[in-house]
Amino acid sequence: MLIYLQLGWRNLWLHPVRSALTAAALAVGMAALTFLSAMNDGWMQQIKGNFALTLTGHLQIHAAGFEQSRKLAQHIAEPDAIVQRIDGIAGIRQLVRRVRVSGLASSAGSNGGALIYGVEAADEREISRLAGFVQQGRWLLPDDVRGVVLGAGLADRLHVGLGDKVVLMASVSNGDIASEVFRVRGLLHSGVMDIDDLLAIIPLRMAQQWLGLGDAVTDIVIRADDFDTVDPLQQRLAQALQGQGLEILRWNDIDPMAQQWADFADAYTWVVLLIVILVVLAEVLNTMLMSLHERIREFGLMGAMGVRSSQLFVMVVWETMLLVMLGSLIGFLLGGGLAWWYGSRGIDLSQFAVAFSFMYMDPVIHPALQAASCLRILGAALIGALAAGLIPAWKAARLEPVEALREL
């Protein structure tokens, strides 16, 4: 085998410019693919992370059917019993109780639709990033009774600031409308429209009293160790809570957007990968065919010397692989290096900030190459190299020495 590597290598040097051009084209393609993949990976991590950690959590437990209906009547009547039951299940990093209801917020002269969350002020800090988004005023304190933290957009629409009164209205369990007065303690700005324009966060106890829920909650929100452990954790929870009339939903069940977006971006990356590889390989094929054409006599000579056609085939495949691997490696290192460089610094795309925040993304992207992406790119390059090598190799193997020797 070594002789073919050696032959291949030296043959590449027969036309250094041609080989360099081909390798450079490969390198450009590979570098671009690597970098784009790294950016995509970084993004997806961010979207998933932000999405789950901003509000949703990794997993949520509701009364069966609540996510569909959003009716307060479908609640978890005895959350403590549930929490006890799942206490000690591995993989739960934190859990928190919430009451979630859709309602109307109004101030003097203005009103707006609101998503009202009753939360446990202290524990909530450990599970979601909501508290961290408070930019004016403060997060709820455990002893707050009638305090509310509003999304900045909602507050803006209601024309209210810190210390102002806001009336929240929602229909309670029996279908009546209940309203309650709250005082604005904090304004949060997350950049996510759904949150900033809709959220009104009040203490859990207050929500339970006001809505006549007693000890009941609508959500038990769980933070897992990381995204990879979500699926097994869901199964363990489902086992532990069987027959309780509950639904256990993953973050991507609750809102498939982030997941589908990731899938879409993934598919798009595949298409780009495919096209770049195809174009690059057409070029490799061209180079190899040129090289083959120049050396037809040499192939005839080797055939006359007793080299089997299968050996000629392997030789040409090796030569192609060598060229492709060389270019790929340079490109991969280049792209990987770029990704690494920008991974720590971040790429600032603030001019598209609004679009990003809608997708739960920060406008500063930190590329982070995942092993799977590396494998995918290198695999595609290798398979492509094989494919591009097959045609010239097949041609070389089919040469009749007598005819090949006639060529000059």
């Binding site: 081909t22 917020a105 803006d156 209205m169 174009v279 070029e283 061209n286 900030a353």
Partner: protein, 402 residues
């Protein structure tokens, strides 16, 4: 020179074909991806405008950022008159506030939108999105149309009563019972959920605001949008705000720009690769013919002529690739424009971005033009070095070159 260059291209037909194929393949995929891209984007932007937002909205100054019921549009007739003068007929009066809608045992906060049934149907496609029942008909009827998610959340069926609770102009509570006459299923989350549409006249009466509107929504073609905006902004005084769809929802425009920016990066990568391919071929073919070039120079061909010939060869390769690639790409775009690419299985949630899960490809002329021109430029650029090398040949050495 052209004929000679053409023959040289044909001389090593196989090599030229592979090069042309690489160019064509790259271009086909670029054009097709543009088609997909533009198809998604244009649909998204069109949907946003046509389904509910309109191309343009006119409010009282500051209303969009701080919508208050009392901040109604001053003298709507005057604005309408101006619009008519500009030849704009597709406009709709709306009154907007927030309300709580209550069904049997639950309630939901939502946007209460009063719209004039006849006018609205000239501007948006909301009526066409009604899935069950009908759209609003009579301007005064106590009827309402809800999105399907809201209707489901409230446990409401067609013909049920909905209680709408809101504050009137003076801040006191106003409640009305309305009949649910239609359920809309648009796929867009801002409509299917959190929106109640009622007749404008009815809402004005309910709130004690006869004749008042909060916004005029206008539908315009893409070409008319900017001129009409400029005309309105100059003719209306500072008491009004004239907002284009992307002034109100910059997210979508930014998203489109972001994706286009990425796309141009992708384009330049493919270009680089294609250019390297052309350069390879032209250089090889030039190196093969050094002897021939020497003979031509001995016969009196100028250096410029040789360089021009090499350049022409490269352009021929590029152009053939461009013609083939563009045709194939446009054919694909054309085919999928009619047939559509059904992604509903993969991406049910795209609807919230106003994207149809069935993508109909289309391509913006400027995108097509940029792509084709850059490939042609690339094939010219690829020839520079080989052309310079050809021009620098010394006749005697070249003739002795085997």
């Amino acid at each position: 020179m052209f004929a000679l260059a053409w023959r040289n291209v044909l001389r090593n037909l196989r090599r030229s074909l592979i090069t042309v194929a690489a160019v064509a393949l790259g271009l086909t995929s670029l054009v097709f991806l543009w088609g997909f891209n533009d198809g998604v984007h244009n649909t998204m932007m069109r949907n946003l405008q046509e389904v509910i937002v309109g191309s343009l909205q006119i409010h009282r100054q500051g209303y969009f950022r701080h919508p208050r019921l009392v901040d109604t549009l001053p003298e709507p007739e005057r604005v309408t008159g101006q619009l008519h003068q500009l030849g704009v007929e597709r406009l709709s009066y709306r009154l907007r506030t927030f309300a709580l809608a209550a069904g049997a045992d639950t309630s939901e906060g939502l946007v209460l939108l009063g719209m004039h049934p006849a006018m609205e149907q000239r501007v948006t496609r909301l009526a066409g999105k009604v899935d069950q029942g009908r759209f609003l008909r009579d301007n005064q009827e106590a009827a309402c149309v809800l999105g399907k998610t809201t209707a489901r959340n409230l446990g409401l069926r067609l013909g049920d009563e909905v209680v709408i609770l809101t504050e009137d102009r003076f801040g006191s509570l106003a409640a009305e019972k309305l009949r649910l006459v239609g359920i809309i299923s648009s796929g867009e989350m801002g409509i299917d959920r959190g929106l109640a549409m009622v007749p404008l006249g009815f809402m004005q009466r309910m709130l004690g605001m006869e004749g008042a509107v909060s916004e005029i929504a206008v539908q315009l073609t893409r070409e008319r949008l900017e001129p009409v905006t400029v005309a309105l902004r100059t003719s209306l005084d500072a008491g009004y705000e004239v907002l284009r769809w992307y002034d109100m929802y910059p997210m979508m425009k930014q998203w489109v720009e972001l994706e286009n920016a990425f796309y141009y990066i992708f384009l330049s990568i493919v270009l680089l690769i294609v250019a390297a391919g052309i350069m390879n071929t032209v250089l090889m073919s030039m190196l093969e013919r050094i002897h021939e070039f020497g003979v031509m120079m001995a016969l009196g061909c100028s250096r410029r002529y040789l360089a021009g010939m090499v350049l022409t060869e490269s352009m021929l390769l590029g152009m053939t690739g461009v013609v083939l690639g563009t045709s194939a790409g446009l054919l694909l775009v054309h085919y999928f424009h009619a047939a559509g690419i059904d992604l509903s299985g993969q991406m049910a949630s795209v609807a919230r971005f106003y994207v149809n899960p069935v993508v109909h490809t289309e391509i913006n002329t400027d995108h097509l033009l940029h792509t084709v021109l850059s490939v042609l430029l690339a094939s010219a650029a690829a020839a520079i070095w080989p052309a310079v090398r050809a021009a620098r040949l010394e006749p005697v050495e070249a003739i002795h070159h085997v």
